[in-house]
Symmetry: C2
Subunit: 337 residues, 2 copies
């Protein structure tokens, strides 16, 4: 029993199954792939693969389908990342050039990726853990209501309306803004909580209350800026995969809507800072995704933020991985400016 051929058989099974969506049998296998042996030999190999838990038969006289473990081995040891076609490269190029706005770029990227892979695409906003505070703004909306705006050097802007408690004038706000700015301008957002208290303490006694309210507002803004957000596209692709319903679509939609779930999932995978990481079926920490796989990688500075796709375990991993990797690279390059 040759080890290489066993892997070759597994590879053939995965490829055929992904392509045909039907359990694949020994005979069909020797016909479609020119392995130099007979179906009987393949059967022996298959029996071994099944023993090792890499493939399984839905019922006695049906072909085999890969298990999660089988896909895992396939991804780790067998498959080569399939290069993108020239047309696909061009598509990436033309679709992602020519915009400055981060939000806009991310939106295009995620749409592109979902079209490229025919799966759901997900992208995490660039990390702003290390972001520094660039600017703040207090705008009086009504006698007691102040719009607090925080701008990070990542270009991210967050705003929030706070109730000042007492009436406050434009002059007061300008004064307070100056104080706050000199105290926290340029500071990492992560340090904001510690830095704000002393600033408030230094404000004129008559404005202490207002200052405290504003500080709390800023703190919350910094928090939600640090908070990760995500964007997605291509949910309709789920319906298509669903036609042959191995994948029940409901739980997946729930997971996607619970951004917290997806964000944790993305953060937890992709430890490998350079490569593309894959999480297959029950490997996923979330139950609703037990029949789904996620292919993701990092992008941007330090590959800290993640981008990826989600689809049924029976997906074309080589192509998906290639697409994710290529798109992530372009994205990094464009955001690099």
């Amino acid at each position: 029993m040759s080890e290489p051929r066993k892997l070759e058989v597994l590879r053939a099974i995965v490829e055929d199954y992904v392509h045909s969506r039907e359990p694949v049998g020994s005979k069909a296998l020797v016909e479609r792939h020119h392995l130099g042996v007979s179906s009987a030999t393949i059967r022996n190999d298959m029996a071994l693969l099944e023993e090792e838990g890499l493939i399984a038969a839905p019922h006695t006289s049906a072909g085999r389908i890969p298990t999660d473990k089988g896909y895992r081995l396939f991804v780790d040891r067998i498959s080569a990342v399939k290069p993108l076609s020239a047309a696909e490269r061009r598509a990436i190029h033309s679709l992602l050039e020519g915009s400055d706005d981060v939000e806009d770029i991310l939106e295009r990227t995620v749409r592109l990726l979902s079209q490229l892979t025919n799966q759901v695409a997900v992208v995490q906003y660039p990390h702003s853990n290390r972001a520094k505070l660039r600017h703040i703004e207090f705008v009086l909306l009504a006698p007691r209501q102040v719009l607090v705006v925080l701008i990070a050097d990542s270009g991210k802007v967050e705003q929030r309306v706070v109730d000042a408690g007492t009436d406050v004038s434009d002059e007061d706000l300008t004064l307070l803004r100056g104080r706050f700015l000199s105290g926290i301008s340029g500071a990492p957002l992560a340090h904001l909580p510690q830095l704000l208290a002393p600033v408030v303490a230094l404000c004129p006694p008559s404005l202490q209350g207002t200052a405290a309210v504003l500080a709390r507002g800023l703190d919350k803004l910094a928090e939600s800026t640090r908070d990760e957000r995500m964007m997605m596209a291509g949910t309709a692709n789920l319906a298509r995969s669903n036609v042959d319903f191995a994948l029940s679509i409901g739980p997946v939609l729930e997971a996607l809507e619970e951004q917290v779930v997806m964000l944790r999932l993305l953060s937890e995978m992709a430890e490998d800072p350079r490569g593309v990481t894959v999480s297959i079926g029950r490997e996923n920490p979330y139950d609703g995704l037990s029949e789904a796989s996620v292919v993701a990688t990092g992008y941007g500075p330090g590959a800290a933020a993640k981008i990826g796709i989600l689809g049924p375990t029976r997906m074309d991993y080589p192509s998906s991985m290639a697409a994710v990797r290529a798109v992530a690279r372009y994205l990094s390059r464009i955001l690099g400016n």
Copy 2:
């Protein structure tokens, strides 16, 4: 043939069908509803209803199901808006109190509405057509890159990075900001395009180029502020309705993802400024929604922005309408501050 009874029969058919998801026949009808007549009589009535196109039979010997037209008549003339339960009222109350941030409130609202109705909930951001410009900010991110921030008096903040073309200093920006502010502060966003040109013309010759770039940036921001955006929740509910697949879920997900489609849909319906409007099946302008219904109403000042739900045509209209109306009212009240 009594007209009132005919309507009563239609009502019974709609209610039973919504409840059971199965075509309803004459016999079952007389059993479940105590209409004072026999099944034969009902059959005659049904034949008439079918002639009028209000109900239809999927095949010869099956019961009847309501047509789009039947649902239309049902919501227009038959159904009464079902009052919410006390528990539901309490849920609305507790979930929507205690937040200042518009974004946050909308998110909670839309989640609440989707849970209340078990459908997909959609909310349009408050209209800012009449919004005025409250504030602008230019922030230097890099020698040539300027973050342009626009704040409307609605509290909406939009930002965008523009490339100045030439190097520009902080002082230049402060100067330009002053010029722009004095020229357009307080102006309705809709007027911005006309107002910007003269301001640029009045800037120092050396800064004309930069001023023009910034003006274009502001213009785009104003445009996207005028642009309507939306938020949604509960897409997973689609999967549940889909179990009995009258409604193929793919096209619906596509429509939901194409926010433009949904926004146009929402704007086009609900002419009636006070009531709840319903758009049923093929009445929808978008093909993918030919088996879906939308229940929506306006909220906020002038009921200009819309909130609503989307589900299969076979939905519980009275309850849905009640929920949408109640939630919209609370939302208006809270945003009224």
